[in-house]
């Protein structure tokens, strides 16, 4: 399978934070959700991929090419949407488009106007007159109008209402249908990903906790609930995260098969959501 994005042992040190040799790959034609709490390193990773930050170690390959040696060529085929609008407030949408379009060799005005129509964006208005949702849609329209093979989105859904969010997700789903495009999509709203993502990469405190197919994650992980008397020091170690009260416990286990051996069917097993997985991993055993 051809990889669109490969991140290998990527490292970046800041004063109080470090990205510690993270690795993951995104195959062509899929959506990867990049999740983690605030400050986990999501934006840092995206900025490193876009060469807005300089890496301290490791390798990033986009379309199989080094992201710095072939920077301009690679960026021809990357569409980006960030959490804030970085356009010039004073320019109208039309002026912004006229500024940006000439930089892309395969800019397609028809596609752009198609999205402007779908998103109902007023071309003659200034950027500063748009709502947050409209700015995001405009950003997306620009990102989709130059035949991008990889869409990189940094928290595109944050601060948007559920209707706009769901519209965005529908569009994402639609654009990967031709299996030529891939999407790398960071968010802390995990429910967005349950709808569209094929792969999930979970980052926490600068480290990749897991990176695998979403269905595998949801199949393997399970929430186990039972009476507190069932716990002992041995089986307690099997939990990724656990929460105990005076009478009972519930916790996350990363392998469904283990549960039968550990508890002999005396417990309730539930399917977790991505949010449950994120919460248990982040909080770890601090409940205990």
């Amino acid at each position: 399978m051809e990889n669109i994005l490969e991140v290998i042992n990527l490292r970046k040190n800041f004063n109080k934070f470090a990205l510690k040799d993270i690795s993951f790959t995104l195959p062509k034609g899929y959506i990867m959700g990049f999740i983690g709490p605030n400050g986990a390193g999501k934006s840092t990773t995206i900025k490193l991929i876009m060469n807005l930050l300089k890496k301290d170690g490791g390798q990033i390959k986009v379309f199989g090419k080094d992201h710095i040696q072939h920077e301009k060529e690679i960026k021809q085929h990357i569409g980006f949407v960030y959490d804030e609008s970085h356009f010039y407030d004073e320019l109208t949408l039309d002026e912004t488009k006229k500024f940006i379009a000439p930089f892309y060799k395969s800019w397609d005005d028809h596609v752009f106007h198609k999205y402007i129509k779908i998103f109902q964006l007023p071309l003659d208005k200034k950027i500063k007159e748009l709502s947050k949702g409209m700015k995001m849609k405009f950003s997306l329209a620009l990102a989709l109008s130059h035949d991008a093979k990889l869409l990189i989105m940094d928290e595109p859904t944050s601060g948007l209402d559920p209707i706009v969010r769901s519209e965005l997700l529908d569009i994402l789903y639609e654009i990967i249908q031709d299996e030529e495009k891939s999407v790398f999509f960071s968010t802390h709203i995990t429910s967005d990903l349950e709808k569209v993502a094929d792969y999930i990469t979970f980052i926490h405190e600068g480290e990749i906790v897991l990176s695998m197919a979403k269905d595998d994650i949801l199949d393997n992980y399970c929430i186990v609930k039972g009476g507190i008397d069932l716990l002992d020091t041995y089986n307690q170690k099997a939990f990724v995260g656990i929460r105990k009260t005076q009478y009972n416990f519930q916790g996350l286990i990363d392998c469904r098969e283990k549960v039968q051996n550990l508890f002999k069917g005396n417990v309730i097993i539930e399917k977790p959501s991505l949010e449950d997985i994120m919460l248990y991993i982040v909080r770890g055993k601090q409940y205990a």
Binding site: K47, M50, N51, L52, L53, K54, E71, K72, E73, K75, Q76, I78, F80, Y82, E84, S85, H86, F87, Y88, D89, E90, L91, E95, F99, I100, P102, F103, Y104
Partner: protein
């Protein structure tokens, strides 16, 4: 690249009109100081336009957007330096326009016209100012270089003005142009070319430094 320069003009189209108005004001305000109005007008207008172009880049962190587009960082820096030359041209035209209008409608003012001497002095000062300021603002961004900016403004605006007005008084002959002229009996044109050539060289060195700085900038 042309696109980047045009964008800088487009975002500050309002300031362009303001700059023209400012020229009228300076023709009026610098009545008593012989030879200073054209220089002051050019420096002020160019200073203003450079400032605004960086302020607009900073406002929404638009450099993040620029550097995510398929543009090399070198081109972004080059565009800023070429813009400075364009602003000098615009400021000169704006000042010429202001003096012509005042002359044509016969306002009883003592208008100071542009001369080769004033053009070369302002070109030199603006280039010097830009050569110092651009590497700093390209490294730290507009807001973080604000302090440097204020100090630079005071240095580059008032010191040359002071020298020029001193020069008008009998007994002083500090002007670079004048002493050069005495020393090597060149024509005004030759001196102007020399000053402009030197200024351009200075900008080239500064641009080279800025490209290196900007290549390592993090956003």
């Amino acid at each position: 690249m042309l696109n980047l320069i045009l964008k800088d003009l487009l975002v500050q189209k309002k300031s362009l009109l303001f700059a023209l108005g400012y020229c009228f004001f300076l023709v009026f305000a610098f009545q008593s100081m012989e030879g200073t109005a054209p220089v002051a007008a050019t420096i002020a207008v160019v200073y203003l336009l450079i400032q605004y172009s960086f302020a607009y880049d900073d406002k929404n962190k638009s450099e993040i957007m620029l550097n995510s587009l398929p543009i090399s960082r070198k081109d972004i820096v080059l565009a800023k330096y070429l813009s400075v030359l364009l602003y000098i041209g615009l400021a000169t035209v704006a000042y010429m326009f202001a003096t012509l209008v005042i002359k044509m409608i016969n306002i009883p003012l003592k208008v100071q016209f542009l001369s080769l001497q004033t053009i070369s002095i302002s070109f030199f000062i603006v280039s010097l100012m830009a050569s110092f300021y651009l590497p700093v603002v390209l490294k730290y961004g507009y807001l973080k270089s604000k302090m440097f900016n204020i100090v630079m403004f005071l240095l580059f605006f008032f010191i040359p003005m002071g020298i020029i007005s001193l020069n008008q008084k009998p007994g002083f002959s500090l002007s670079v142009n004048m002493s050069l002229k005495d020393a090597i009996s060149w024509s005004n044109w030759q001196i102007t070319l020399l000053v402009i050539g030197f200024s351009l060289l200075m900008m080239c060195v500064s641009c080279f430094i800025s490209i290196n700085i900007y290549n390592n900038r993090e956003f």
